[in-house]
């Protein structure tokens, strides 16, 4: 029995057959995958999940890929949830946890969504996978397309840094450099879906792609002993994953996987240099997210025109969360803080998340005993250049001659 029934518009409820399409013909609202929940209720259980693979595919019953499909996987997900004792001590949080998603195969959270998207696309006869991206998504798409043996087209802004281009190019995709910024590339691809028979991960197969995000929250709950935390801090780009995490919490409750009825507070993190959702959250009209021109080092989350921004604000308010933003300096400071206290090196988007966590903690948001989880979504080597430009050398660096004398003179050992 297929578990997927079709697609449904989140705005007007119009229903569609399963297909590679992402917007409602009636109102342009986003389409979501619809599952046969009654059938799933009969089979989904903690023990069934615990017997599954040590990857996000242990939640396969709750993902939009039928049982008969061979999935395209590199072992993504089931990343470490670490208790952050030392960072927690600095911030006055005794139950702080970090979900370290930089431990994924291409070192970012995107492996989750891309594994689902490409599995779905290959099973539905697509021969070419495509995306508009500035790094993390392109990295994942190029790697998983190579793994699946599918053609791959990656559209990037022409000024993308050489290091990022190299990390994408190694997988040998067709690379299209567009003279424009990310929002320009994204618009071009939104128009291209009509004239190419391709699966664009973040556009026409978005309803399936987006579902992969849920596994981050499923895993967090399982790793906490099948309970949800009090608050989750999530970086906001398009807002797509934020919305899926709320849905994941709902599913964990509906399928009886977690104890308790309390929904976590969902809190969003943005860089002030690209903060359209934050701006709207703190305005009189949170339901109107106005686009901005991004200008931040947190490029992997710099979307000036976030499609799910309105939903982020609704969910944050409904669950008692907030949307907060940090400066460029605070992003770099947070990267260093996380590295210094927990041994985790995160990219600028992770700096935004930890920066917002620190800002809220220092402003007295928590009493101290709450269980707070921050999603660290990408590895620091992806954006190491921001540390070099901000005096990347350690203040503890010394240079010495290769002699014992020089060592004793220059290095103080307590």
């Amino acid at each position: 029995m297929p578990k997927l029934l079709g697609l449904r518009c989140r705005e007007c409820g119009a229903e569609y057959e399963l297909q590679a399409t992402h917007v409602c013909e009636m109102c342009f609202g986003p389409l979501d995958a619809v599952y046969d929940e009654a059938a799933l209720k009969k089979i989904v259980s903690r023990s069934r999940i615990e017997q599954g693979p040590s990857s996000m595919w242990r939640y396969r019953d709750l993902l939009p890929v039928e049982d008969s499909v061979a999935v395209v996987t590199l072992g993504e997900g089931f990343t470490p949830l670490v208790k952050a004792e030392r960072l927690g001590a600095e911030l006055g949080l005794r139950n702080l946890y970090l979900k370290n998603d930089s431990m994924n195969p291409t070192n970012s959270f995107k492996d989750r969504v891309v594994s689902v998207a490409i599995s779905w696309a290959r099973a539905h006869g697509f021969e070419t996978i495509a995306c508009a991206s500035t790094g993390n998504l392109a990295n994942a798409v190029a790697a998983y397309a190579a793994r699946a043996g599918l053609e791959c087209f990656v559209f990037i802004p022409i000024d993308l840094e050489p290091a990022k281009v190299a990390a994408i190019s190694v997988f040998d995709p067709n690379l299209v450099a567009v003279r424009g910024n990310y929002d320009d590339v994204n618009r071009l691809c939104s128009q291209l879906i009509e004239s190419t028979p391709w699966a664009f991960c973040n556009i026409n197969i978005r309803p399936f792609y987006a579902e992969g995000s849920k596994t981050l929250t499923f895993e967090t709950a399982e790793q906490l002993g099948w309970r949800l935390p009090d608050e989750i801090i999530i970086p906001i780009a398009s807002g797509c994953q934020f919305v899926r995490h709320r849905q994941a919490a709902r599913e964990l409750m509906e399928y009886g996987l977690v104890r308790g009825e309390r929904v976590p507070a969902f809190t969003g993190a943005q860089a002030l240099g690209c903060a359209p959702v934050y701006n709207a959250f703190h305005s009189d009209t949170p339901d109107r997210v106005l686009p901005v021109k991004p200008n931040t080092i947190a490029k992997s989350i710099a979307i000036g025109n976030p499609s799910d921004g309105v939903y982020v604000n609704r969910i944050a308010r409904e669950t008692g969360g907030v949307v907060e933003a940090v400066t460029e300096e605070e992003i770099v400071e947070a990267i260093r803080l996380l590295a210094r206290t927990e041994g985790i090196f995160t990219e600028t988007a992770g700096g935004v998340t930890i920066g917002v966590l620190a800002k809220l903690a220092r402003a007295g948001r928590w009493k101290g005993d709450e269980t707070v989880v921050a999603y660290v979504t990408g590895h620091g080597l992806k954006t190491a250049d921001v540390l070099a430009s901000a005096n990347g050398h350690s203040s503890k660096r010394v240079e010495i001659e290769p002699t014992m004398k020089s060592f004793r003179e220059k290095v103080s050992i307590s």
């Binding site: 705005e11 992402h22 917007v23 409602c24 013909e25 109102c27 342009f28 609202g29 986003p30 995107k110 969504v113 508009a132 991206s133 500035t134 790094g135 993390n136 998504l137 990310y182 929002d183 320009d184 994204n186 618009r187 691809c189 939104s190 128009q191 879906i193 009509e194 991960c201 973040n202 556009i203 978005r206 792609y209 780009a237 398009s238 797509c240 994953q241 339901d287 109107r288 106005l290 686009p291 021109k293 490029k299 992997s300 989350i301 710099a302 979307i303 025109n305 976030p306 499609s307 799910d308 309105v310």
Partner: protein, 91 residues
């Protein structure tokens, strides 16, 4: 005349036409002219307050009109107006 580019989901309204030419001085009047020729477009593009709907992006010669004058944006003879569904993205 300015040219509208109609996205796939709305071509049912335009008898399958990908481009539609209209006579107009600004974006608001261009949408009125489009709706006069192919009824239904106004409701799909504008909300009850007469503002652009949340999930509709409109580009005037590749520039997002929300970053500029919105519906008051001046429309010239050779301008291209693209309607693009907003739901996309994720870097």
């Amino acid at each position: 005349m300015a040219q509208f580019r109609i996205p796939g989901p709305l071509r049912r309204l335009s008898d399958g036409q990908v481009t539609v030419a209209v006579e107009a001085s600004d974006l608001a009047s261009a949408i009125e002219a489009l709706d006069a020729r192919y009824p239904g477009f106004r409701d799909r593009l504008l909300d009850e307050k007469g503002e652009l709907r949340q999930f509709v992006n409109v580009y005037l010669n590749d520039e997002d009109v929300r970053l500029g004058s919105g519906l008051q944006a001046k429309v010239g003879e050779r301008d291209e107006i693209s309607i693009v569904p907003a739901v996309a993205g994720g870097r």
